[in-house]
């Protein structure tokens, strides 16, 4: 190489250091690495709230909804009824308060309803393989939709006269029928062959379905109340929770009483107790083994109802006796006049398993006219006898395959591995659809390993400002009557403001921080700034690998990788 | 060539006097050179300046060691050692003094001409600035240059009332001082 000619006085031409590649100095390199947000990892439906909130924050509402419904086709519904574990997982909880993900989800669902946005799914090919889905509750609907997205023809059966399944027994103050109708009907218009009034074991038969369809997904739910007694004693005139709810929703009546004890800590118990209050019963109690949700609760020892529902029930006057078990029914003849309760708690045993323990000497009496158990239901075995084989639920593996029955899949309530929530049912349906599609294509089943969610420590919270959480408007107690919806959808400004609170955990938020802070101008910005794709390139010709960008990335999206 | 040494005090316009004299010579088409004896003196201290007037260009830049004329702006300087040193034989001394020229000549053993330049300058300029009066007297006594040459040099340097007063002072001195009485000495001492 010839040596450059010396310039008079030693001047240099502009911008010529660019011929010197400082990238050779580097021993570690920054890379963009998408990491799961905790909200994503804990969502039973498999939603990635970070992804759709990013779209929304970037101003693309419809794209946000489409991202959302690419996983969960029922956001208006789950946005209302889901206990939102996403928010418990949200890293923003470590900063000020979690992002109100469920409110954003609901807002997007409602927006789609209002705008009539069609679901992002095409018609299946005429010769596509057909799959039958039995049951049109959240699991069935989700599975049918995702099968369609996978290119299959789908026939959706339900014993009921309309789609919705268990959604239809959620009281209207929480989930109005109009919302179910609006979301479910649009979903059914996507090309699902919907056949109502087809009861398994009566109108349709599993064997025939298995013969007719390439695969069958069972999402039959649970209808039979669990047996309930206290020391073998069952009161006469026993009303069962779910039935009381159904009756109220069908004809608007409830059992006559002055005081009622509802037994159970799930949503049915809470819904029922609030219905009883709305029906005019002055004195309504909930007795539950579990504790009220609180910061110190053990995960397995908390009432399963949605915390905000519990809170609202208390506001409405429902008295909750948490960590109480029923020792004895107080009877006058066969008529219940009260219960004897005892303090109890779940404590870890030697193996670490939580185990219920009652404490001697803590017994108290509660005088009530009625005791209504709301402790859950089991599967109706009609038409499934051959595969249940006496079991109370369908045994499935992690791909929702019914064990021992090729081509048969199941999800939602009534299965092993059931999450017991609408959202987990939606997730079951999607996972089953993916497994069915893979199986029918003759491919391997989808992987189930989930990468670890990014922790709060991996973010750089300095770049965020504390912002108040946008709460949905809740009706004052005196206005909470009958079926009027208790909580209102966020208005657009609130929803946008709430989306802005997202810390974009593990994903680029195009904030320009790396571009701004690189001392070597080795971060290049692309002209088109996407909302979800990082619009930056590392210029490894010059990057010296100092790691400043990684340390200062607010979202933990940049990591340093050792280079050899 | 004639060489002149001018003695004064800082602030009395000693260098200006030398410059005026050389300027007058140059304006007359002669060669003139003037320069101070360089010192770090402050106002009031005795200072010295030199003038050379010649018919052709001089290249030298040495100090004047043997002047033909001394111009002394302050009588008191006569008591400063060395003021009269180096005067050429037959050289003349013009001094700002109200004393009698003959008495001074007798006292110092040199030929003196005393001009009461302080009182004259007070009268015409409003303050004792003896240099213009002494230059006018020098030119009148020696006739080395016409006094008009001095007037021209003054016009180059001063403006307005100050100039007018100086010009009137030159005229006044020219009438008081005998013209040409030092012309001989100029020729006697010239090179």
């Amino acid at each position: 190489m010839s040596s450059p000619l010396f310039t008079r006085g030693g001047f240099a031409l502009p911008g010529t250091t660019s011929q010197f590649k400082t990238g050779t100095w580097r021993v570690q390199q920054p890379i963009h690495r998408h990491r799961n947000a905790p909200c994503h990892n804990v969502c039973p439906a498999g939603e990635d709230p970070q992804a759709y909130i990013a779209e929304f924050d970037a101003g693309h509402i419809r794209a946000a909804w489409e991202t959302l419904v690419s996983i969960n086709p029922l956001p208006a519904i789950t946005g209302r009824v889901c206990p939102h574990p996403c928010e418990s997982g949200c890293n923003r909880g470590d900063y000020d308060a979690p992002v109100a993900i469920h409110s954003i989800e609901r807002f997007l669902g409602d927006q789609a309803i209002a705008e009539g946005w069609p679901y992002p799914v095409g018609k299946p090919a005429a010769d596509a393989q057909a799959v039958a889905v039995v049951g049109a509750g959240p699991a069935g609907l989700s599975c049918a939709y995702h099968l369609l997205r996978q290119g299959h023809q789908v026939t959706l059966y339900t014993a009921l006269g309309e789609a919705g399944g268990t959604l239809r027994v959620i009281p209207g103050y929480r989930l109005p029928d109009s919302v179910i109708d609006a979301e479910v009907e649009r979903l059914l218009q996507t090309g699902i062959d919907f056949r109502p009034g087809q009861r398994l074991g009566r109108d349709i038969h599993l064997d025939e379905l298995r013969g007719e369809y390439a695969a069958v997904f069972l999402a039959v739910g649970t209808q039979d109340p669990r047996d309930w007694s206290v020391g073998g004693v069952t009161p006469r005139d026993l009303h069962v929770g779910l039935n009381v709810l159904k009756e109220w929703m069908a004809v608007g009546s409830v059992p006559q009483a002055e005081s009622v004890a509802v037994v159970g800590g799930g949503n049915t118990a809470v819904d029922l107790s609030r219905i009883l209050k709305r029906a005019g019963i002055p004195d309504v109690h909930i007795i539950t083994h579990n504790g009220l949700p609180g910061p110190d609760s053990l995960p397995g020892d908390v009432m399963r109802a949605v915390p905000r529902e519990i809170e609202q029930a208390v506001e409405e006057g429902v008295q909750i006796h948490a960590h109480r078990g029923i020792r004895r029914l107080l009877l006058r003849g066969e008529q219940v006049v009260g219960v004897e309760m005892v303090h109890m708690k779940k404590l870890p045993d030697a193996s670490g398993q939580l185990k219920r323990t009652a404490f001697e000497g803590t017994e108290t009496l509660l005088h009530v006219d009625q005791v209504i158990p709301a402790i859950g239901q089991t599967i109706d075995p009609a038409g499934l006898e051959a595969i249940l084989n006496g079991s109370a639920y369908l045994k499935v593996d992690e791909w929702r395959r019914v064990e021992g029955h090729a081509g048969l899949f199941a999800g939602g309530d009534g299965c092993s591995r059931g999450g017991g929530t609408v959202t987990s049912a939606v997730g079951d349906g999607r996972e089953a659809a993916e497994a069915i599609a893979a199986t029918l294509r003759g491919e391997g089943l989808p992987g189930k390993t989930v990468s670890e969610a990014i922790a709060f420590d991996a973010l750089n919270p300095h770049y965020f400002e504390p912002l108040p959480r946008n709460e949905q408007h809740i009706l004052p107690v005196e206005e909470r009557i009958a079926e009027v919806e208790t909580e209102q959808t966020l208005d657009p400004a609130q929803a946008k403001a709430e989306a802005r609170r997202c810390l974009s955990c593990g994903n680029c938020m195009s904030c320009d921080n790396c571009w701004t802070l690189c001392p070597d101008s080795a971060v290049l910005r692309l002209q088109d700034k996407g909302a979800t794709e990082a619009p930056y390139r590392f210029d490894y010709d010059y990057c010296k690998g100092c790691g400043l960008c990684a340390y200062e990335c607010p979202c933990g999206f940049i990591t340093m990788k050792e280079e050899l | 060539m004639i060489e002149i040494r001018i003695h004064g005090r800082g602030g009395q316009g000693n260098v200006v006097a030398a410059y005026l004299l050389a300027t007058a010579a140059i304006d007359e088409g002669r060669f003139g050179q003037a320069f101070p004896a360089f010192g770090a003196e402050r106002r009031g201290a005795p200072v010295v300046a030199f003038v050379r007037i010649a018919e052709r260009k001089l290249h030298r830049h040495n100090q004047v060691l043997h002047p033909a004329f001394l111009v002394i702006q302050d009588e008191a300087l006569l008591h400063v050692p060395g003021v009269l040193d180096g005067l050429k034989p037959g050289g003349r001394v013009l001094v700002n003094s109200s004393h009698n020229s003959e008495l001074l000549s007798e006292q110092y053993g040199q030929q003196f001409f005393a001009l009461p330049a302080d009182s004259l300058s007070k009268e015409y300029l409003g303050r004792p600035l003896p240099n213009t009066a002494l230059l006018a007297a020098f030119l009148t006594l020696t006739e080395v240059l016409p006094t008009e040459a001095l007037n021209k040099a003054l016009r180059d340097r001063f403006r307005g009332t100050l100039l007018d007063n100086n010009l009137r002072l030159v005229q006044e001195v020219a009438t008081r001082v005998p013209a040409g009485i030092w012309e001989d000495s100029f020729h006697a001492t010239g090179t």
Binding site: T16, H462, E465, P466, M509, D520, S521, D539, C546, G547 | -
Partner: protein
């Protein structure tokens, strides 16, 4: 995409960056250099119609290894101690030529607080239309980390080493901003590389003023301060949030702005990240005393400039660097 296509894309991208690139890649600054970053931010905010006089120092060395130069604006390095005068000469020349190009002077703390102080003072006094930017990394880094007038109290340098009887630098950091502001210039400010938007705002404010303006930017030196290059911003930020490096603005000598501190950090949070203060964490009463002393200096600043944020101010130490999705972090 093929390798060639990718190279072509990169090449195009480098040219098309949506900001003014007055200083380009390939300069020889250390990893995580605060001064390189601060310089880029300043030049970016100025735009192309400028001319720079640069003092001797790291910046000069790492940007102009002949025959290369990182600069894309006219730039001249003369000596260590005359940057104010060089800039003054440039400004006088441009004025004589009737040009409006703005002259900038760049110098480190040594070239500003110490050896170049006289030229700076003269430039300020004569009212030259020059923006003088001091990149303050608190020691002579180019020559091997020797103590300067800007080195903070108790810091270790090669000429203020701690030992049995000494705890690093015995003297205080020179209050340059007050001295500069005492020249009654229209605008003088302190800034920190941890707050790029603040730097941009201050540069633009200064650029809009005809007359001498002064900006000192606290710029960590990973080598001289003994911290990892990835921590340069974190360290700079803690200097501000601890109160040791108050970000203030003075107009005609009067305090007109100060970035409030939302949550003052203890100075030890700042000090413990840097090896130059490691001796202060030894089990030694002198070390403990100096730690308390430094905390007292920070508290003094907080009190003197009333730096305590009243509520969450979007311009305070927590608000001023807030990012948003898709947000160009321009002021």
């Amino acid at each position: 995409m093929t390798d060639t296509d990718d190279k072509a894309l990169l090449k195009q991208l480098r040219v098309e960056q949506p900001r003014f690139q007055g200083i380009v890649s390939g300069h020889r600054a250390c990893l995580g250099c605060g001064e390189a970053l601060a310089t880029r931010l300043v030049v970016e905010a100025c735009g192309p119609d400028i001319m720079i006089a640069n003092a001797t120092g790291c910046l000069e060395i790492f940007t102009t290894p002949w025959p290369e130069s990182a600069w894309r604006v006219p730039w001249l390095h003369s000596l260590f101690e005359n940057t104010g005068a060089i800039a003054a000469g440039m400004e006088a020349a441009l004025k004589a030529q009737g040009k409006s190009t703005k002259v900038l002077a760049f110098a480190g703390d040594g070239g500003t607080f110490d050896i170049g102080f006289q030229a700076l003072s003269g430039m300020l006094e004569r009212g030259h239309d020059v923006l003088y930017v001091c990149f303050d990394n608190e020691a002579y880094m180019n020559t091997g980390i020797q103590r300067s007038g800007s080195t903070p109290h108790a810091a270790m340098t090669t000429t203020s080493p701690p030992g049995k009887v000494r705890m690093g630098k015995r003297h205080l950091k020179k209050d340059i901003i007050s001295i500069v502001a005492a020249h009654h210039i229209p605008y003088a400010a302190t800034a920190s590389v941890a707050y790029p938007s603040d730097i941009r705002q201050k540069v633009r404010r200064a650029m809009a003023i005809e007359g001498p303006t002064f900006l000192v930017i606290h710029s960590p030196c990973p080598l001289g301060w003994g911290h990892d290059g990835s921590l340069s911003i974190e360290v700079a930020r803690l200097a501000v949030t601890s109160g040791l490096m108050p970000l203030i603005e003075l107009e005609r000598g009067e305090l007109t702005g100060a970035m409030p501190i939302r949550t003052p950090h203890p100075v030890s949070d700042y000090l413990k990240l840097q090896k130059r203060f490691a001796h202060l964490f030894a089990d030694d009463p002198k070390a403990r005393e100096e730690l308390v002393h430094l905390q007292a200096l920070a508290d003094y600043n907080i009190e003197k400039f009333a730096l305590h944020s009243l509520g969450d101010d979007p311009q305070d130490t927590d608000g001023a660097d807030t990012v948003t999705r898709g947000g160009m972090r321009y002021a």
